[in-house]
Amino acid sequence: MAVLTDVASWLLLSLGGVFVFIGGLGALRMPSLYTRMHAASVTDTLGAVLIIAGAILQAGFSLAAIKLALILLFLLLTSPTASNALASAALLAGVRPDRALPWRAERSE
């Protein structure tokens, strides 16, 4: 049983790591601020959920598991707030979403 939990936990942790890596890679590959933010949001949604789920399996039924679940909850509440703040600050600072790109949006309505 312990082996099964370990296997599931490592699967979740590794998969989470893959998505964090993809998020980082995307942040490097994307051409502009807003598109980079899209890529980075893979890290703090699917990446974070999988890694914390894996860690909860390792923690078992304990206070640590509850704390991890709460950390996930707070992360999912605060990360869009931070993204909104960043995006609206960029917009206010004059980073135009369509001008910052190498090509224009095909449809902007």
């Binding site: 993809i22 590959r29 807003y34 893979v42 949006a105």
Partner: protein, 170 residues
């Protein structure tokens, strides 16, 4: 404290603020589990700071707990989780594609009919979903940046604002 507040309002405000401080303090004490003077001091400081910021944001002026936990909320969260997973995979596929097939698009989501709190929920749901990002809210219209044209279309046809509006109906 702005002038023009009656004694009853002030006492209601004090009650609400004390309740929040009590809630935050007990959460801090339960979760840290370490009772050293430095940590207790930091805890007290952050509770008071949170309370001050919440007061400035007008948190105490409206109803205390606006969103009630209900089956409907759980259904919405399950739907949102499904959307987050789907779009995470979609964005990952785009990132890993050597051609990087993006087509950044801006769409306006009409949220004029929604309560301000629902607008916040909608905006945060949009931002939480990878591939779509709420840029700005102006007069109830949410400006959304989407990584791809298809993502923008999917958001428009998903009826997310309808789902959020349905949360409040009793």
């Amino acid at each position: 404290m702005t002038h023009g507040e009656s004694a009853a309002q002030v006492s209601q405000l004090t009650t609400r603020m004390l309740f929040l401080v009590a809630l935050l303090s007990s959460a801090w004490l339960l979760w840290s589990g370490i009772y050293k003077p430095l940590l207790l001091g930091l805890g007290a400081l952050s509770c008071l700071l949170t309370c001050y910021v919440a007061r400035r944001m007008g948190y105490f002026d409206s109803e205390f707990f606006m969103l009630h936990f209900s089956v409907r909320l759980l259904v919405y969260l399950a739907w949102l989780a499904k959307e987050v997973v789907r779009s995470s995979l979609e964005v990952s596929r785009i990132v890993l594609d050597p051609r990087l097939p993006i087509s950044p698009t801006i769409v306006d989501i009409d949220a004029t009919a929604l309560h301000p709190i629902d607008r916040a929920i909608l905006g945060n749901s949009i931002t939480l979903t990878p591939g779509t990002l709420a840029l700005d809210v102006h007069r109830g219209v949410i400006k959304v940046h989407s990584l791809t044209l298809e993502g923008a279309d999917a958001l428009m046809s998903s009826g997310m604002e309808r789902r959020v509006a349905a949360l409040r109906k009793t």
